[in-house]
Amino acid sequence: MAITYLLGSLTYGGLLFLLTSGFCLIFGIMRVPNLAHGSLFMVGAYVGVAALRAGVPFALALLAAGGAAAILGAIFEAAVLRRIAGDENAQVLATIGLAFVVGDGILAVWGGNPYRAQAPHALQLSFRMFGAVFPAYRVAVLVIAVLSAALLWLLIERTRIGARLRAGVDDLQMTRALGISAPALFTGVFALGSFLAGVAGALAAPIVSAYPGLDFDILPLALVVVILGGMGSLAGAFAASFVVGGLYIVGPVMLPELAYVVLFLPMAIVMAIRPQGILGRSAP
């Protein structure tokens, strides 16, 4: 029994990491808390299901989902966020606006019923180990999440693009002075963050299915991860994703009435005790 919960937590944690890694990148570099991140996840879920249903191979379906979210994100960043750069409040509000538009857009295209797809055929088997059942798909999700974490780490620490990203986080003005275009950097970052959210959504679809409201269901969870792990920190997001994944799976079982309290109280406590350390500006 416990092992099933463990696997569930790990899978969920993996999904949360993919989702929140995008959020952390966007916040880390652009200092925008992207409240449309859940919506981009939802776009990925719907596109992923659509692709799977149309018989597209799994890997391509994931890319299509990520790509759709990335395009949406890039357009939004260039057309909207860029014009209000520097005004933090306006940017957050703009992401809320995007979330509303995307939410209804999905309703318009796919209607109000949950939109389901099966896990890809190859992964529809399960293993029996230690007296518990392991659906291969869930293991695959976890593997993909960990691989992505490794790839992201490589990208950021070991490539030139990554170096530019890190430079942008450390000192944006200097980065600009060195001739690295900030607008291009920002659009790229937002697109990459959206891509990750879209892929996460597509991976999640066979498990949670795509449905209206998924955006605002998943967003608070992503925010908990991000706060616990540190708003711009990928490593923190990685660790926190699994903690939150575990709380989300196990919480309702152990403390049914306090399931959400268990999730959000740590977030509130962290904010109360270490607001500066994790998020930057506290009240002067």
Binding site: P33, V92, L93, V224, Y260, L279
Partner: protein
């Protein structure tokens, strides 16, 4: 202000007597207390400069308080008083923690508290009824009036809104109101002048939560139903939209915003087929091109209209 109050009373009477049926009266009632709700949030967003994503918690907690008490034998007025008291206590407690930070941190901590409240409403089924909510609520008697009649309840809520407008107007013009705005604009300077910045923000937060609680109580009695939905993140963003679209620095901004948002969502079939997308687009438009919101623009139009309709008087009438 007196002229506004008189004009307002005329409009209220007109609506109460002339509305074709209860549907429109209900809508008008909701406009009234959502006006209170939006104005309460504007104390945080506009006056204190704190963007809250969790204001719906106070609305919902008060609604549940009234619902639970009235379905357990407590009379409606006592229930409302209890809801206000609860709102004050919860507001002060959560505010004490939340206003230690600003900006994104404040947004996240208010969101966390609202999610906790929502989660309790959703999961603590024994008390809250979970997803099914609480039903069977009745409105209390008020002297000669029968609040169960929608027209009477509408007038009650409309008068409540007027009262709130007056109170908040006084607050805005007072020393405390000036301090709240000053803390928003120059917190370091205010500290250097001896003001307790945290305490002032806490005062704003508490006042905002009390008025949101009042709105929630009115909502419970209007809908005769409460559910966790009013405390969802979606609803919290909706009321934020009202404030921003209407305009944070204009006195009537939140009211205008409430009217716009509710009209879009209520009459979604009729003239806007996708209310949320429309509101999202409107929000984007406001953020990009009209950061002060719609209300200042409407006010200017209204003033220009007045000027063109009335003959100029000696001494040149000044706009309000």
């Amino acid at each position: 202000m007196i002229r506004f109050a008189l004009a307002y009373l005329v409009v209220v009477a007109g609506v109460a007597l002339g509305a074709p049926n209860d549907f429109y009266l209900s809508f008008a009632t909701r406009l009234a207390y959502y006006g209170v709700y939006a104005m309460s949030l504007n104390i945080l967003v506009g006056e204190a400069g704190l963007m809250s994503l969790g204001h719906s918690a106070f609305f919902g907690i008060a609604a549940y308080c009234v619902a639970w008490l009235t379905t357990h034998g407590v009379d409606g007025w006592t229930a409302i008083a209890a809801a206000l008291a609860l709102g004050t206590v919860v507001g002060m407690a959560t505010g004490a923690v939340a206003v230690r930070v600003v900006g994104t941190s404040f947004m996240m901590i208010t969101l966390a508290f609202a999610q906790i409240a929502w989660g309790l409403a959703y999961r603590w089924v024994d008390v809250t009824g979970g997803d099914n909510g609480i039903t069977g609520i009745t409105r209390p008697p008020l002297m000669a009036f029968d609040l169960e009649k929608q027209s009477h309840y509408f007038v009650f809520c409309a008068l409540a809104l007027l009262g709130v407008v007056f109170i908040l107007d006084r607050l805005r013009a007072s020393a405390l109101g000036a301090s709240i705005r000053a803390v928003r604009d120059q917190p370091r300077r205010m500290s250097a002048l001896g003001y307790n910045v945290w305490a002032i923000r806490l005062a704003a937060f508490t006042v905002a939560s009390v008025f949101a609680s009042f709105a929630g109580a009115l909502d419970c009695l209007q809908q005769k139903f409460v559910s966790p939905a009013t405390m969802s993140l979606l609803d919290a963003t909706m009321v934020l939209l009202m404030v921003v679209i209407g305009g944070t620095s204009s006195r009537f901004g939140p009211l205008v915003g409430a009217i716009v948002v509710l009209t879009f969502t209520e009459f979604s079939g009729q003239f806007v087929s996708r209310p949320r997308a429309a509101l999202g687009a409107l929000l984007l438009f406001v953020v990009l091109f009209m950061p002060g919101g719609i209300a200042p623009w409407l006010e200017r139009g209204f003033v220009a209209l007045k000027r063109s309709l009335w003959r100029p008087r000696a001494g040149a009438g000044a706009a309000q």
